[in-house]
């Protein structure tokens, strides 16, 4: 039965992928393409949809893993402060106009910010040779506050123009997706997903508690550490590719748990695929609803997803909360 569901999910993802390529402010049918349309399809829409898919995958998988590591249904990839650090670094770059690497400057800065913050949080999570979820959570929240405060400081000191640009990036900006970013993004997300999938059984055990996990043959601290690295990589990749897209990390795992159960070996890939599909859809909506303007993708994601989540919540048996 669950195999069938996975197959259905897979087909939904393919369908969404196809729609995102074809639909948009103007519909492009793959059959009859003239030069302009071919260019739009291959150099603008295709990279954009791929980036959206990568980001959604990274966020969905990270959310599932993190909710397991922290044993907390409200955990989301941004609770570790990684996104705040990334936003701070990106905003600094955008507002001060650093462009030493051309158009990949902002993603690179965001990635550095993410890894740096993730690193600090990770180090703070260690005590007595162990890697503790409560410490991780608190360190993440603390770093989040610090980075947000610094970010708000920078933005209040900048011109309105600089602030608007930084804000548009932070709200989720897929408009600058190009082929340059895809190799790095794919590599990072792939590493993260493979890493977390390889540890999915351990994650199942961790959820039961450290003693039980230990008695089942896993080294809880080591597993947690490896999973944390995978979450860090995926979240850093996602935020650096296109800013902060909320909702997916937090709620996609819950939605998928309803359909597929809580076994992480299935939940992680399901959340990843679901996240990818949702973000592709949200991006499609954001560029189609008020043409030629583009809305921030993060906003559309939450507007689409949150009501659905609330609806599921009303059905008492739906979610694991």
């Amino acid at each position: 039965m669950s195999q069938l569901k996975i197959l259905i999910l897979f087909f939904i993802v393919l369908f969404v992928f196809f729609c995102s390529l074809v639909l948009g402010p103007k519909i492009i049918m793959p059959g009859a393409l003239d030069d302009v349309e071919r260019e739009i399809l291959f150099s603008i829409r295709l990279p954009r949809v791929l980036v959206a898919f990568l980001m959604g995958t990274a966020l969905g998988a990270s959310g599932a893993v993190l909710q397991g590591i922290l044993r907390n249904p409200l955990a989301d990839p941004y609770v570790l402060g990684i996104s705040s650090g990334a936003s701070l670094a990106a905003a600094l770059g955008i507002i001060s106009g650093m462009i030493f690497l051309g158009s990949v400057t902002t993603p690179v800065l965001a990635f550095i910010g993410a890894i740096a913050t993730g690193g600090i949080v990770g180090v703070m999570g260690i005590k007595r040779g162990g890697f503790w979820p409560e410490r991780l959570l608190l360190a993440g929240v603390g770093m989040s506050f610090l980075c947000s405060a610094l970010l708000m400081l920078i933005m209040s000191l900048s011109t309105d123009e600089g602030m608007r640009r930084a804000t548009l990036w932070i709200f989720g900006d897929l408009s600058m997706s190009d082929w340059q970013r895809i190799p790095y993004g794919s590599a990072l997300v792939l590493i993260g997903v493979v890493l977390s999938l390889s540890r999915a059984k351990a994650l199942n055990a961790l959820i039961l508690g450290d003693e039980l996990a230990h008695s089942l043959g896993f080294a809880p601290q080591r597993e947690r550490f490896i999973l944390f690295i995978s979450v860090g990589l995926m979240t850093a990749a996602s935020v650096s590719l296109g800013g902060m897209i909320g909702f997916i990390g937090l709620l996609m795992p819950h939605i998928m748990r309803f359909f597929f159960g809580a076994d992480n070996r299935i939940l992680i890939p399901a959340s990843a695929l679901g996240g990818g599909a949702l973000l592709c859809t949200a991006d499609l909506v954001s560029r189609t609803v008020l043409p030629p303007m583009e809305l921030p993708a993060g906003v559309v994601t939450a507007i689409i997803g949150a009501p659905y989540f609330l609806y599921l919540l009303r059905r008492k048996d739906a979610l694991s909360i």
């Binding site: 948009g24 402010p25 103007k26 030069d35 302009v36 260019e39 739009i40 150099s43 603008i44 829409r45 106009g97 462009i99 051309g102 158009s103 902002t106 209040s156 011109t159 309105d160 123009e161 608007r164 640009r165 548009l168 990036w169 900006d173 408009s175 600058m176 190009d178 560029r287 008020l290 043409p291 030629p292 303007m293 583009e294």
Partner: protein, 300 residues
């Protein structure tokens, strides 16, 4: 009889401030926007200015004036400490509450309401009258109008009236400032993310006045985040890139221009880098239009 005359003079004299117009220019003026600062300097009131925003950088003398904060967040405390006779603000950039708060503190304010190029000369005239320098304002306004008339289809659009906005059919009647083929222009305010000048912006006004077509004129807001797909579809003939403060626009725009490499503007090298003269609705708008005209006419 004498007493009646004296009493009448006293009443009239006491009531004069209630007329709301200073008899002579205010001695201490605070300006809450770079554009109004420039206009005040152009009206010869530079010495009367006691406070400007931190973004007021033209003319040179403005940089040396005491600062009272930003445009969207001026520090009322700093303004009050300067004991101004008049605070000049705009509807386009200053928070609306400032006027009420300043009035509550019994500080006189003048609100500059022009947002479009068409409204500028009249707004300058009105401000000149309110500030007690009507002749200089008239001269400044005339100067702007004649400069505009030289380059564009200004006359046909009607001087200073709001009806000047969006009168495409009327442009047909004039040959001045009219490009031969009504070419398509895109004015990029910032390349990454792509923000362009849409309807209601000074750049859009300037493009239309010069007889060209702004491809972003159907957008819903003044400075929209624009779809790259749409730019490629619209194939603009000329691209103008505005200047971000302190940025090397050539370097910043390289990426976006590469992605647009199939549009005529990029293929033919019809891309010009402008200064920020069109960003402020003040006396320098004329230079901005000159610059834009230079850019568009030499590449069409």
């Amino acid at each position: 009889m004498k007493y009646y005359i004296i009493i009448i003079f006293l009443i009239v004299g006491a009531g004069y401030p209630a007329f709301g117009e200073p008899a002579s220019p205010p001695k201490r003026i605070v300006s809450l926007a770079p554009s109004t600062t420039e206009i005040l300097f152009a009206l010869g009131l530079g010495d009367n200015i006691v406070g400007v925003t931190s973004f007021c950088d033209y003319p040179q003398a403005a940089k040396e004036k005491p600062k009272i904060g930003g445009m969207s967040n001026p520090s009322l405390e700093s303004v009050i400490l300067l004991k101004p006779d008049l605070v000049v603000m705009t509807t386009d950039g200053n928070p609306k509450e400032s006027k009420e708060r300043l009035s509550a503190l019994k500080i006189a304010t003048y609100v500059f309401t022009a947002r479009r190029i068409a409204e500028l000369p009249q707004a300058i005239r009105e401000m000149g009258v309110s500030l007690g320098v009507p002749e200089r304002a008239e001269a400044l306004a005339r100067g702007i109008e004649s400069a505009l008339r030289k380059r564009t289809a200004w006359d046909i659009m009607g001087r200073g009236s709001n009806s000047a906005i969006r009168k495409e059919p009327v442009l047909e009647e004039s040959n001045r400032g009219r490009s031969e083929t009504h070419k398509k222009v895109l004015f990029i305010v910032w390349p990454d993310p792509l923000i362009v000048a849409g309807p209601g912006s000074a750049m859009d006004d300037a493009i239309t006045l010069l007889g060209y077509e702004n491809i972003a004129k159907e957008a819903k807001i003044t400075y929209p985040k624009y779809s790259l797909e749409e730019v490629i579809r619209q194939s603009p003939d000329i691209i103008a890139i505005g200047k971000g403060s302190g940025m090397d626009m050539r370097a910043v725009s390289r990426g976006i221009l590469q992605r647009m490499s199939s549009v005529p503007a990029v293929k033919n090298g019809a891309v010009c880098y402008m200064s920020d003269s069109l960003y402020r609705l003040g006396p320098r708008i004329v230079y901005g239009i000159e610059e834009l005209a230079e850019c568009l006419n030499s590449r069409s």
